[in-house]
Symmetry: C2
Subunit: 269 residues, 2 copies
């Protein structure tokens, strides 16, 4: 683990990420020792920094951190990059000239089967237009929902917003079929606009299979015949069972592999 | 600062409070070297722990931490108590048997005048029934709103929810007058149900001045003649100016002092 570019395992207890969730993170796939989709992740991070007025450290500094971790040439894993607004005294207002803190750490690749069983979590996603789409550090809703999924034995849990719209999984974005076209829920008020979600949208459009945004109400979910989940660690996964109901399809996962690999998801090649 | 009862300034960078906002905090007033309202704060914390399935360390352990900090006999300050779900690898789901981490730190008393100028923040509070009322570690909305208030030169900024209801300030709960009675907005879907808010409600009821919950729409705010803000650090403050409009009243602040002091807000005596 590197903290501000230096090998370390501890951070100051006055860190604003710890005390106020005042920061952002990216979760990246490491394949054969290389970080995949780094440019897309950094572009997303830069834009997210702009939204919360967190000074972006710069592509070179962050790419330098990543390369300094030096995963072995055969490493399959996950690289997590956290930015916080550094240290401050007590108080929500960001101190002038706060120094951004960078934490980069390597984790093992999680195991996940090709076909996922999914249920609906009772924990809802809050609707917060200020934070919608951001991968910020305040993830207590996902923690509670993931605990539900683990207790129920699902591979993943879907989360609804307060308006009974299906938004995403606890750690995956969601795609669904309607009238033969694929859609993903809009994320203007909640959810994380994942890097892989953007790539899947592009790939679906290229294949003539859709890729647009559309809301999905909870009561429509049970008519859906096919569901995909995606993130930048695993790529795309088919949902085989939703709330105990078997779902069909899955050919699209194979169809997506080539365009996603060509766009940088090297582990899908 | 004490971390798990031991003098320290650093925490593990794998702390779940840092990585996922997976934790809670209490902010307490220190007056003449003593922590005020400790029992109420711990009762609130215990109930909040129950809501997010965070093991509560016990009153004795937490009171022990607080007494071990030993503020000097004349100290006026703020004591912040943070609980996190300890360390874990990557992943939202709480690891079985996670050890709760305790961080207790003393901060200087903030300066705040008796009469506050207040504006309306553009940053909205997300509506999240799972987290409504909790003082959890994910406070990025408050960070963004506090930055707005600081930039505008207000003492405090009021925050609306997505439904145009006025909920609270960035660091104070809100009371308003309607037909001669005082009310405070309900916090079932957002906001922090502060210890002082509960005490002010009880004191208002005792004085025959109300203290119930009622929603306050943004378009009703501009008809309100009197506003109070409160928290466990300062007690109660009158709003003298709202969005540039002078507000009247304020006698209730003096009326509340005696019952609040009797209920444990010793610095108001």
């Amino acid at each position: 683990m590197l903290i501000d570019g230096i090998q370390a395992t501890q951070v100051s207890a006055t860190d604003r990420g710890l005390n106020y969730g005042d920061g952002l993170f990216e979760t990246m796939r490491v394949h054969r020792g290389r970080v995949c989709l780094l440019e897309r992740h950094l572009a997303r991070l830069r834009e997210s920094c702009r939204r919360i007025a967190l000074p972006y450290p710069g592509d070179d500094v962050l790419a330098g951190d990543v390369s300094r971790l030096q995963p072995g040439a055969d490493t399959e894993g996950v690289l997590r990059l956290v930015l916080t607004r550094g240290d401050s005294g007590r108080g929500y207002a960001p101190p002038p000239g706060a120094a951004v803190r960078r934490i980069v750490a390597l984790y093992p690749l999680p195991r996940l089967p090709d076909e996922l069983t999914v249920g609906i979590c009772a924990t809802r996603l809050g609707r917060s237009p200020a934070l919608g789409g951001l991968k910020h550090l305040g993830r207590l809703e996902q923690v509670l929902a993931a605990a539900e999924a683990a207790a129920a034995g699902w591979h993943e849990g879907l989360m609804l917003d307060e308006c009974d719209r299906v938004v995403e999984g606890t750690r995956h974005n969601l795609f669904f079929v309607r009238h033969g076209q694929w859609y993903t829920p809009p994320l203007d008020a909640c959810g994380v606009a994942g890097v892989m979600r953007g790539m899947v949208r592009e790939a679906l459009a290229m294949l003539g299979l859709g890729g647009g945004e559309a809301a999905l109400r909870y009561d429509e979910l049970h008519e859906v015949e096919e569901l995909l989940l995606c993130n930048a660690v695993v790529g795309v996964r088919r949902v085989s069972e939703l709330d105990g109901r078997r779902l069909g399809g899955g050919r699209v996962v194979a169809d997506l592999a080539a365009p996603l690999a060509a766009a940088g998801a090297a582990w899908l090649a």
